[in-house]
Point group: C2
Chain length 483, copies 2
């Protein structure tokens, strides 16, 4: 007999079916044994009566999270026995045959118990955590949001292009992870903070409309709800202006909310476009929370922040730094009007804010070699630094670079807001903790001295001392020292 | 006026339009100047006549790869002037207005010139290489193949789940890239060879149907047409057997060929399923090329290789190693029949071969704790090694693991075969060279001593000596030594 997903049994009253899944709960009522069976699609009540002796006897041995196969008949429940809490509540199954496919130890926490398990134990046993309805639903809705974004861009003629994960550093911005290059002793790849340079180079390459659901990496200290690796919806277009980008993002967000979250309401459409100066004056922030009722979990208040300053003074570095990033096009009129005062220049950047959180950000880029050089000079980069870091970009701009611009979304953040989840960790299948560990896999971890040697590196004295102090064994440490 | 993509001008005869793109070629015929204008969608011939004086004068300055905007009238060409080589060959444009948007230096090679440029220069100027019709088409078809695979799995109820790039090593298999963990001195993340363990843990987590277009990493020496990072279509399912997996892959491949490559013919349907022993006897290879005409670029001969041996003797290691990987389920009947002779066991693995190249490979996995332990023992792993490397997997198998299996495809390889490209480098937007360099970005590269210090590592003596010998400067090398 072929397996029937639990969600489909509702329409099979009177029929014999086979269902497979996990024992969600078991209740003994005298001689009758009730099992709630769970699969990905739902939960079904199965009744084992003594008259099906073999199945009944075996059902006695069942415990939570056993994997079992049941054959039996689907029956309509009497009106007053209907369980409105589950989708299959109008029926139940008589368990006639039972097979235990795999046993289970008692889980360290109850799957969908009344008590929320602690985060440490949820992360260590993530495979059990994912069996919970809430987590399964988060992953499913994340998939649907990504699918909708992909279909949206595909329909508009965008091409999804995969860009490298092993690349060169971009010294502006956050701290980056480095990867030793075995074949190039002393040299390293860098994991990208974003596909920024590659997507601009695709525009120079004539792709015109690019998107990617891109994995990005930032080695930052724990700052609230951040992850060392995260996912970005990444978009770039040629021959367009701010309006084109904002309209495109706006349509996608409205489509996602309307089609996937019909219970949610968008406060104002079209999304208000508020200049930075006005936002700062009125809300003392460039990310205003414009919800009418901040206690309503179904209210979504979007607004655009536009025309931010191009540069700001860095107190620590005593110089100007780029407010967005160094490839952002300044407002040309501001450049003309205040040629010697770049602090007065606005940039052609835009952020989309949802309920006070930035979810998309982007800009029109510099496509002209001379303006890019000027911006690097304002940022205090020496010609040698510019050549080392961005030489390839400047060179590309000399070969017929089209005007272009783009935008990127923090996908994890968007999913968590739409799913009403306080933490992005709850919408990522295998997240890392605040201190960047994977408690399930026990990563990061030590590596062998052979591996270190092949990577052409040694541990620093400080790392060795720190390990000694903690009494930790660093496998291969002795050999690495002796190399 | 709004921009018209070049592909759409064919239907605009008699209308005034605006087109934007790159100067593909310029030809002066006395007073009349011909421009072939190129955008992503196609090529259009534009005629500049002296009567539109300003545009004509400016057209004199145009050179290859300038970015320009032209306004003008689309005219039907007389019958004998039709150019069958281009999609817009039935029309041409009279250039009435012209704006130079960005100039271009003379490119280091002709875009779509008769001569194929050398690979070194193509890689260094990849943004120019991508302007070539061939490369643009490769990226477009790669996008379509991926899109079709995604839609296919989504329609079947699979959930795309993103798995981590920063994880722990799996010591079986290829050499892995390591990433120093700044917050955990002496410890490292490892970039995954495949999402193998995570996808199995998703099955333990009750996801039942998973897929992902996953980035994978292998730090191997140059072996023909390999890349340090590559893309895998990665699939896993619960409560299924070999037939389910093979049928699913087969349908997808037929769909891709039929809908995207109507000129190609599949030699035999359904794909023949050939046991390993039979293949070895008949073809002396487990990857047979079953094409009837090996010179026909449009012939596609698929076959499945099934029932390979579970283990083979490693000459170098003088012990048994897993033929597929250590999570592959052995044939239970073979285990019973030859309990003490694992070399006689077949495994429940399957590979899909296309024209003699393996493009998909997978297996039914071990979901039972005891069998997994037994396989680790056969592979000669000590209990301590098993605990350190795979403890989390064995633990997961104790909590109600479902029977499951899966498969993965080398996407780059599939696209290159379907596109008739000899190298996977031609179907990857920004590939690395055979010695794992990105010539465009100049990666890998040196990093600062500050970065090394934060990563808790130092360069090895050998790396420093090698750099000295080559006369290379390793930025920060002195400071790193002094730390």
């Amino acid at each position: 007999m072929a397996r029937t997903p639990i969600a489909e049994v509702v329409n099979k009253a009177g029929q014999q079916v086979e269902v497979i899944g996990w024992v969600h709960t078991r209740r003994d009522h005298g001689k009758i044994i009730f099992i709630d069976l769970r699969d990905r699609s739902g939960i079904l009540q199965v009744v084992f009566e003594p008259k099906f002796a073999q199945a009944h006897a075996l059902a006695n041995n069942l415990r939570s999270e056993f994997v079992i196969k049941i054959t039996g008949t689907i029956n309509k429940r009497p009106e007053k026995m209907i369980n409105a809490k589950i989708a299959t509540g109008t029926v139940e199954m008589t368990g006639e045959g039972l097979e235990i496919i795999n046993e289970a130890k008692t889980p360290p926490f109850e799957i969908d118990g009344a008590q929320e398990p602690g985060e440490e134990i949820r992360m260590k046993y993530r495979y059990l955590d994912l069996r919970r309805e809430r987590m399964k639903n988060n992953l499913l809705m994340r998939h649907r949001i990504i699918k909708m974004a992909r279909d949206y861009y595909d329909n508009l003629g965008f091409i999804e292009v995969e860009t490298p994960a092993l690349t060169k550093g971009t010294p502006e911005g956050a701290r980056e992870f480095i990867v030793p290059a075995r074949m190039w002793p002393g040299k390293f790849y860098v994991l990208p903070q974003s596909p920024q340079q590659f997507k601009q180079l695709l525009m120079v390459g004539g792709i015109e409309k690019y998107f990617q659901i891109a994995r990005c990496f930032r080695d930052e200290d724990t700052r609230g709800d951040r992850q060392a690796e995260f996912t970005q919806i990444d978009v770039e277009m040629s021959f367009i202006d701010e309006e084109d980008v904002m309209k495109m993002v706006e349509e996608l967000m409205i489509k996602i909310v309307t089609e996937l979250y019909p219970n949610k309401k968008i406060t104002t459409q079209p999304f208000p476009r508020l200049p930075y100066d006005e936002l700062m004056k009125k809300y003392h922030s460039d990310k205003a929370d414009l919800r009418k009722d901040k206690t309503d979990p179904n209210e979504l208040a979007f607004h655009w922040m536009v025309e931010p300053p191009a540069f700001k003074k860095s107190e620590t570095e005593k110089k100007l730094v780029a407010t967005h990033h160094p490839f952002t096009m300044p407002n040309l009129e501001d450049m003309k009007q205040y040629p010697d005062n770049p602090e007065m220049w606005r940039s052609r950047a835009y952020d989309l804010i949802l309920n006070g959180t930035e979810i998309w950000g982007g800009s029109i880029r510099i496509h002209l070699h001379d303006i890019q050089q000027k911006v690097f000079a304002i940022l205090g980069l020496t010609p040698e630094e510019v050549e080392n870091r961005f030489g390839h970009m400047l060179k590309a701009f000399e070969y017929g670079a089209p005007p272009h611009g783009g935008v990127a979304a923090g996908l994890d953040r968007i999913v968590s807001i739409l799913q009403n989840e306080p933490s992005i960790r709850d919408v990522i299948a295998f997240p890392k903790t605040g201190d960047s560990r994977d408690l399930l896999m026990d990563a990061p971890n030590i590596v062998s001295s052979k591996t270190l040697k092949e990577a052409n590196i040694r541990l620093s004295e400080e790392a060795i001392a720190a390990a000694k102090e903690k009494g930790e064994r660093l496998e291969g440490f002795d050999t690495a020292m002796a190399d």
